[in-house]
């Protein structure tokens, strides 16, 4: 525990408080809710703010690469300790989570106003935030897993928040079938799907954890770094790479990466504030954070001569595949929240890609910084976009973009903020955080020197084109063109489209402004993080980065140190994607429906993408329909016949006579039972003490 002069608070305590406070709030909220439902919102806001402030108080130390590490005894019989580890990585992440969560909580007071189950909502929101902060701050894998399952549980509860399964809370199009299976899901189904699919990742993570624990005898991140003899013996038995990859399996599940990505779409059944939280601050970011947490450890091992290339290769490829796979689907989906969900998965893929190539390159810190910087910028603009989408849903009363249209005159603020945040997602050059972080990823991939650098780079750039396209499409469909029939119908009935209330637009306004505001000084910000992480990695993991003079052939002073190829690629990607989007959806020079139907290739491609590359249907066929079918077969032809009819009936005949005897005793008169019973007790007592 350290004390910083001028700050009289014990920093260890603050680090604990960051995650404990939300849980305290969750515990007292039901009681508060009994007294006054209105007060619950204020309690939630107060605790979220307090937690975020605790995170801020750690920031000065963290920016100087200090760390706070504080442990207490937990399961002493196995020698496991619980602890908080507030190093620069954790503190920055805790701030991102804390502040974005705080803004979302403020937004929720408007969005969830009047919901009769509001107490349950706050409970799970605070539980969610607390669990995420455990993941961020815990100093060992086991405690992290508590948070890990905590966010899974909270997501189950919040995705299925509207558990009454009303038609308006479903996602998908009713009646639409893919490979014979419905593509229309209720909130409770979606919650279950999310929980079970992420659990598949979790069991992989558990196996990875166990493998490491079996050799190292500890779950602690610092302890694992301190003495790496475990890695030697694991390597000897050929288990080091499997353990690392299994650990990454947890991140695949939680961050909705390929092949465990299919839950993310249905997660849109939750209230939009929840979607914002899941996508920006908690849950899916947990996977990236896990990789950021363990990545340096494995890189340090790799630098010490362990063969871990395969591990980083897996991360990079999973990221790249997810990025493009989900981005393509974002182009065609008609539901605004689903477009954003696809976009999240795809952007997380970018982060994984960056962290993966970091391990493959000589300059670990480049990719590492790029991935983490993208996490921060994505958290801001995606939270903003989701909250804005929530406003749209709130106002229009439909999740389909085809039910919107022409809204720019009626919701000017939302329109402006959505553009700002959307530009961040598209990576609009030089003024958005998204541009800088994405450019850093391109550069890291391009410069990594890995044998797969070029294909990965090509996928990343293609994804950027698609991203720019679908973002423009989304904004075009919602705000441009004519009003949809749905809105006209609403207006006829006297519901006028209006701007969202103050408590809602302020939070996403702030984040949209930050996307641009930090974007303007983006390069400086990136350099700051880069320096901090260089020092952090060198200090904690002994990963020294050679100070390479970047090839700066551009000659423009403020672009010093930027890779020209990466820069050119990002500019081109933005221009092509946004341009196409403009042609189809803003300028509306070409009708996209006619265009798709114009030839068989586009038509089939559109269909395959709209059917989610048939992946979702395949998951259901293989892991739901087939096992149930199998279980039914065993039930019918084994349990009911061989076991039940065979053994039980056979025995029953044999003991038939005893049944007759017993039937005689069933006189129905309690008194006679009592005599028999009393005699029995007497018998037993006598027998015991003869």
């Amino acid at each position: 525990m350290e004390l910083i002069p001028g700050l009289s608070l014990d920093l260890g305590l603050q680090a604990w408080a960051i995650w404990i406070l939300p849980f305290v709030a969750a515990l007292i909220l039901p009681a508060v809710g009994k007294a006054s439902k209105r007060a619950t919102g204020w309690v939630a806001i107060a605790f979220a703010l307090a937690s975020a402030l605790c995170a801020v108080s750690l920031l000065p130390g963290a920016l100087e690469a200090q760390e706070v590490h504080d442990q207490v005894n937990w399961i002493s019989s196995i020698g496991i300790k619980a602890g908080v580890l507030a190093d620069p990585l954790a503190v920055i992440m805790a701030n991102v989570v804390g502040w974005i969560a705080f803004l979302i909580i403020v937004y929720s007071t408007g969005y969830m106003k009047g919901d009769k189950d509001i107490v349950r909502f706050w409970f799970w929101m605070m539980f969610f935030i607390g669990s995420m902060q455990i993941i961020v701050l815990s100093d060992n894998l086991l405690m992290m897993f508590f948070g890990w399952e905590g966010v899974g549980l909270a997501s189950y509860a919040l995705i299925g928040f509207w558990y009454r399964d009303k038609a308006k809370d479903h996602v998908g199009v009713q009646g639409r079938k893919v490979l014979g299976l419905m593509d229309y899901y209720s909130p409770t189904h979606a919650g279950m799907k999310a929980f079970i699919m992420t659990k598949v990742g979790d069991i992989m993570m558990l196996s990875g954890m166990f493998l490491i624990f079996a050799f190292a005898g500890t779950f602690g991140f610092r302890e694992l770094m301190h003495d790496t003899a475990w890695a030697t013996s694991m390597q000897a038995q050929g288990l080091l790479v499997p353990a690392a990859v299994l650990l990454f399996g947890g991140a695949i599940g939680k961050s909705a990466q390929f092949p465990l990505n299919e839950w993310l779409l249905e997660a849109m059944t939750g209230p939009t504030a929840v979607s914002a939280l899941i996508h920006a601050a908690t849950m899916v970011k947990a996977g990236v954070f896990l990789v950021a947490r363990i990545g340096p450890l494995f890189f340090a091992l790799a630098a010490a001569g362990f063969a871990l290339d395969q591990f980083f290769m897996v991360i990079a490829w999973v990221g790249a595949i997810t990025a493009i796979l989900l981005a393509t689907q974002g182009m065609v989906n008609p539901e605004i929240k689903k477009v954003l969900a696809y976009s999240t998965g795809s952007q997380i893929g970018y982060m994984m890609l960056a962290l993966g190539v970091a391990g493959l390159s000589k300059q670990f810190v480049d990719g590492y910084t790029a991935g983490f910087f993208h996490l921060i910028s994505h958290a801001m603009f995606k939270a903003s976009l989701f909250m804005a989408a929530g406003s749209l849903l709130h106002v229009v009363g439909s999740r389909f973009m085809t039910d919107m249209g022409g809204l720019r005159k009626h919701m000017k603020k939302t329109y402006a903020f959505m553009w700002a945040a959307g530009l961040g997602l598209m990576g609009a050059p030089f003024i958005t955080t998204g541009f800088w972080s994405k450019d850093a990823i391109f550069a890291a991939v391009y410069e990594s020197g890995s044998e797969w650098a070029l294909p990965l780079f090509a996928i990343a750039v293609l994804t950027a084109v698609i991203t720019a396209f679908y973002t423009t499409r989304m904004i075009g469909m919602v705000f441009f063109g004519d009003k949809s029939k749905h809105i006209e119908h609403m207006e006829k009935e006297g519901h006028h489209v209006h701007e969202a209330p103050l408590s809602m637009w302020v939070p996403y306004g702030i984040l949209a402004a930050l996307t641009i505001g930090i974007g303007v000084i983006g390069l400086t910000a990136e350099h700051g993080i880069h320096e901090l992480f260089t020092e952090y990695l060198a200090h904690t993991f002994h990963i020294e980065s050679a100070h390479v003079e970047a090839e700066s052939g551009i000659g423009i002073p403020f672009l010093e140190g930027i890779n020209p190829v990466a820069l050119g690629a990002s500019l081109a990607a933005f221009a092509i994607g946004a341009g196409l989007g403009y042609v189809f959806y803003i300028g509306r020079f070409v009708d996209p429906v006619k265009f798709v139907n114009s030839n068989i290739f586009f038509y089939s491609l559109h269909k395959v993408i709209l059917n989610r590359w048939y992946l979702n249907a395949m998951v259901y066929w293989c892991f739901v329909v087939a096992p149930l079918w199998l279980a039914r077969g065993v039930w019918r032809y084994f349990e009911k016949t061989a076991i039940d009819a065979g053994m039980n009936m056979g025995v029953e005949r044999a003991v038939g006579w005893s049944a007759k005897v017993v039937q005689k005793t069933q006189t129905g008169v309690a008194q006679s039972y009592l005599y028999v019973f009393g005699a029995g007790i007497l018998f037993v007592v006598l027998f015991l003490f003869i």
Binding site: S77, I78, L142, Y163, D165, I203, F210, A214, W635
Partner: protein, 524 residues
């Protein structure tokens, strides 16, 4: 405290007639609170003794069998505590459930009677007083049997002598049989006989094993048993007999025939005791008799137990998926959970064994909660068929929360105690797998470990699906009148729900006892 365990075991037996008389003369409330108070006192005795660490009591018995003793050590403490905590709490829960049941029976009888005589013109007053006296009689009998059932279970895990163990093992069977036969659902007599037959058959096989050991060693006292004294050609036979006898109790795969019937049909508070507390005693037996007393035989059969456990896990889980009756689903789930315990027993490592015992604790808490949930549904809704339920979370929030916590405990989600059992258990399995792999290059245990983890996903699937069909989704129109259950039912559930979270956050409550014991038996 002198005679603490003697009191804890025999007070319920000796005072059972008092419960009967109280019920008959005063009414179900008095019998309930008497039973509760008595068991609470006994629970405190057990816990206070357990806090002081290992503890033994010995009393002279017969020359023939040896000493009559009670022993509370690291192995027995978690079993004993869970058995009595559940028994105590479920006594309160029994009251509304059993009164509901008695009234149902009374009306059945009355209906039969009136249709037989063809008159059926009895006035409401007569009927209500007849009903009261019927309920009083029945509740007295119920609580008397209940007390004996509880003491039988406790006696088994405290016994220090093979014959004593066997007697208690049978003592818990007899009241169990009557409880099912009198107040079960469906064809209860047939089912109770099935229960009696299968578990008794198991017990006889067990007794054969005991006799083999006892006659060879020359004493039935636990302290006298030494593996080396038994001729090598019969010792394995004895071990197998014991494992099969206990396997029937555990309802391990193939011997699970009786369990879905019995646990589905038993009155719900009894299901909540049978399912987690009683069948798990089979696991206690394996720990005590095989792992502790016959370590060499254990070493030989560990892998088989492991695989048997895996098969039970997966089979029980798959069958649970197919159920529509909630109590039957829970019964199959219990089979699957017993598979986890066997899986852990077969892991042959300290943490795996500790995890297996922890599974008993968490399964006790979680499954009791779930059966209690089912009981609430039976009383408040009148149905336990999953296809007829749905959307009840809004109607009965406390039950829903407790039921969900119970399900999470079974699934093994932190911060419930289930996770603490599960991670240690699977870690233990992996530890041995790694050792095997390093020593012989065999990946068999790696595969079983992986399949075991996959089975946890299966567990999660049937549990969440069950929750969805009971508490979430659309509320059927005929259920719009449903109300939350009385405090007699919800308060016990809340206590257990709190307990499972406390254990999940601070498992040392039980691990402090379990782990040193397991280290001792494995010689690690």
């Amino acid at each position: 405290m002198e005679f603490a365990l003697l009191q804890a075991v025999f007070l319920p037996l000796l005072l059972a007639p008092v419960a009967y008389i109280l019920g008959r003369k005063v009414g179900p409330t008095a019998a309930t609170w008497f039973t509760f108070g008595l068991l609470l006192y006994c629970t405190f005795l057990v816990i206070s003794v357990a806090l002081s660490g290992n503890y033994e009591e010995h009393y002279t018995w017969t020359k023939l069998f040896g000493e009559f003793g009670f022993k509370l050590d690291g192995l027995a403490i978690p079993f004993a505590v869970i058995i009595y905590v559940l028994s105590t709490i479920l006594a309160l829960y029994s009251k509304p459930y059993m009164i509901h049941k008695f009234k149902e029976f009374f009306e059945e009888h009355a209906h039969d009677h009136s249709s037989e005589s063809g008159a059926g013109q009895s006035t409401a007053l007569v009927e209500s007083s007849a009903m009261t006296s019927y309920v009083n009689h029945q509740s007295g009998l119920y609580f008397a049997l209940y007390l004996v059932f509880a003491m039988g279970m406790l006696g088994t895990v405290l016994a220090t002598n093979l014959i004593e163990f066997y007697i208690f093992f049978e003592v818990m069977l007899i009241p169990g049989f009557f409880l099912v036969a009198f107040w079960g659902d469906g064809p209860r007599r047939r089912i109770s006989l099935m229960f009696l037959f299968w578990t008794h058959a198991g017990a006889v096989v067990l007794l054969l094993g005991f006799l083999t050991i006892g006659l060879n060693v020359g004493s039935f006292d636990f302290t006298a048993i030494q593996e080396s004294k038994i001729p090598s050609d019969v010792v394995m036979l004895a071990a197998v007999a014991i494992v099969i006898g206990l396997g029937v109790k555990l309802a391990a795969f193939v011997f699970h025939i009786w369990l879905p019937y019995v646990h589905g049909a038993a009155p719900t508070p009894i299901s909540a005791l049978l399912s987690p507390a009683m069948i798990g005693i089979g696991a206690y037996g394996i720990f005590r008799l095989i792992i502790e007393f016959l370590p060499n035989q254990y070493a030989e059969m560990a892998l088989w137990l492991h695989i048997w456990g895996l098969a039970t896990m997966i089979y029980g889980g798959a069958m649970a998926l197919m159920q529509d009756d909630m109590k039957r689903l829970l019964a199959y789930s219990s089979i699957s959970q017993m598979g986890y315990i066997l899986f852990g027993i077969g892991s042959y490592s300290t943490l795996g064994l500790a995890g297996a015992e922890m599974m008993y604790v968490t399964h006790g808490l979680g499954k009791a909660l779930l059966f209690m949930t089912a009981g609430v549904l039976i009383v408040q809704v009148g149905s336990r068929s999953l296809s007829k339920l749905g959307g009840l979370a809004g109607k009965m929030p406390i039950t829903a929360v407790c039921g969900v916590i119970g399900a999470l405990t079974i699934i093994g989600v932190p911060p419930t105690s289930g996770f603490m059992g599960e991670w240690t258990l699977f870690y233990g399995a992996l530890e041995t797998a790694i050792k095997d792999h390093a020593a012989t290059g065999s990946v068999l245990r790696m595969v079983t470990f992986g399949l075991g983890l996959v089975a946890t996903v299966l567990t999660m699937s049937y549990m969440l699906w069950m929750l969805k069909r009971v508490f979430f989704g659309k509320l059927p129109e005929n259920l719009s009148h449903v109300k939350e259950a009385s405090w007699y039912m919800t308060a016990p559930m809340m206590v257990l729900a709190g307990f499972t979270i406390v254990v999940g956050l601070y498992p040392d409550i039980f691990f402090n006892d379990i782990i040193p014991y397991m280290k001792g038996v494995l010689g690690a």
